[in-house]
Symmetry: C2
Subunit: 196 residues, 2 copies
DNA sequence: TATAATATTGAATATAAATTCAATGAATTT
DNA sequence: AAATTCATTGAATTTATATTCAATATTATA
C-alpha cells in the first residue's frame, strides 16, 4: 500500500474514531457532520472525500459494532445458562480492555431510536441479540435452566441491563481505569432458573 | 364554555391522541407534522392553529406522560422494597386499564434518544424515576432490603425491564384485552435483597 | 340577514443540515 | 521541474421539514 493510501486509511480511521465518540455521546440525529469535522479538525467538505454520506459513515460504524458485540459468541458452553454467564463475563472483559467497544455498545443500543435511517436499522436487526437470546431462553425454560416468564421480556431485560452497564462504564471511565472488571453477576439472576 | 371552545378542545385532544400514537410508534424525529395532520384528517397548516409548534405539542404530551407515570406514587408503604412492589403492581393495573398510558410510557422511554429537543429532555429530567429509585435503593441496601451492587445500575435495570413490558404491551394489545394484568413479579428479583 | 369571529386550506417562506463543486494547494510521478 | 494526481477548502446547492400567511369557508352573534 502506498504512503498516500496509508495516510488516507489513517485519516478515515480518525474520522471513524471521532464519530464513534460523538455518536455514542449525542446520538445519530444530534451529531452533525460539522461536529465530526470539527473533532477531526477538518472541513465539512472533506468529510465527503472520505465517506459517501453521513448515513454510510454511520452504517460502517454499526457494522463494526455488530461484529464487536458478537465477538464473545465464539465459545463453547455446557448448557444454555452457562452460555449467558460466559458471554457476560467475556463481554465485560473485552469491553474493559478496549474502551472503544463500550462506545460501540452504546451506539448499538441507540439504533432503534428516532432519526436513524431505516437502512442502518436493518444492519443491526440482523444481529439482534434479544431475539436470539429469547429463543435460547424459551428452549431452556423446559429444563429449568431459566426462570418462567415471557422469554422475550426476560431477554430484553437481560440485555437492557448489560447496555446499562456498558453505558455507565463508557461515560465513567474511572470505573475501569484500575483494570478491574466490574462485578455484574446479579444480571444473571434476571434469567436464572431453579436448576442454576 | 361555548360550543366553539368545546369543539376546539376536542380537536386539540384528537391531535394529541393521534400524536401520542405516532410518537410512540415512530419516535419524535421520525414523526412529521404531516403524519399527525393526516392521522387527524386535517391540513398541516391547521395544526399550527392548535399548537404553537411540533416541539410544544410534544412537550405537552411529555408533561402528561410525566404525570401518568408518577401517578402510582401516591401510596403508603411499610418499607422501601414494598414501595417498589406496590408501585409495579399499581403501574401495571393502571396501564392496562388505560392503554394510552402504555403509549405515554413508551414515549417517556424515548426522550433521551436523539432528535428530541433539549427543552423537552428537561421536562422529563425533573421526574427521573431512575435517579429517585437509585437513592431509595442505596439507602435500603444497608438493611438488606435490596441486593448489593451499584444502586444506579440496579435502578436502571429495574426501570428498563418495566419499560420493556410497557412497550411489549403497548404494541401487543391482545395480551391485555382479556383484562388480566400480566405477571411481572420477576422484575422485583432484580433488586430484591435477602431480607425480602 | 349582516357582521364579526373563528376554522381551514394550500401555497409561500424559513431554516438547518447534508451534499456538491469549482478552485487551490500539496504531494507524487515522470 | 513539469505534469499529474490527490487532498483540502469554502462557498453554492439541495433537500426535507417546520412554520407563516393571505385568502376562503364556516359558524356564531347582533
Amino acid at each position: 500500500m502506498s504512503i498516500r493510501d496509508e495516510q488516507k486509511e489513517q485519516r478515515r480511521q480518525l474520522i471513524i474514531d471521532k464519530a464513534i465518540e460523538l455518536f455514542a455521546k449525542k446520538g445519530y440525529a444530534d451529531t452533525k457532520i460539522g461536529d465530526i469535522a470539527k473533532a477531526a479538525d477538518m472541513s465539512v467538505g472533506l468529510m465527503f472525500h472520505y465517506f459517501e454520506s453521513k448515513e454510510e459513515l454511520f452504517a460502517e460504524i454499526v457494522r463494526s459494532g455488530a461484529t464487536a458485540t458478537n465477538t464473545p459468541l465464539n465459545m463453547n458452553f455446557e448448557n444454555p445458562f452457562d452460555y449467558f454467564e460466559g458471554f457476560l463475563k467475556m463481554l465485560l472483559k473485552y469491553a474493559c480492555e478496549q474502551p472503544k467497544v463500550l462506545y460501540l455498545f452504546v451506539i448499538m443500543s441507540q439504533i432503534q431510536c428516532g432519526g436513524v435511517p431505516e437502512s442502518v436499522k436493518e444492519i443491526a436487526a440482523q444481529t439482534n441479540q434479544i431475539d436470539q437470546s429469547a429463543e435460547i431462553i424459551e428452549a431452556g425454560q423446559k429444563y429449568g435452566y431459566f426462570r418462567e416468564g415471557d422469554p422475550y421480556l426476560l431477554a430484553f431485560s437481560f440485555w437492557s441491563s448489560i447496555q446499562g452497564i456498558m453505558t455507565h462504564l463508557a461515560f465513567n471511565h474511572q470505573l475501569i481505569e484500575n483494570g478491574r472488571i466490574p462485578e455484574a453477576d446479579w444480571i444473571l439472576d434476571i434469567i436464572r432458573g431453579e436448576k442454576r
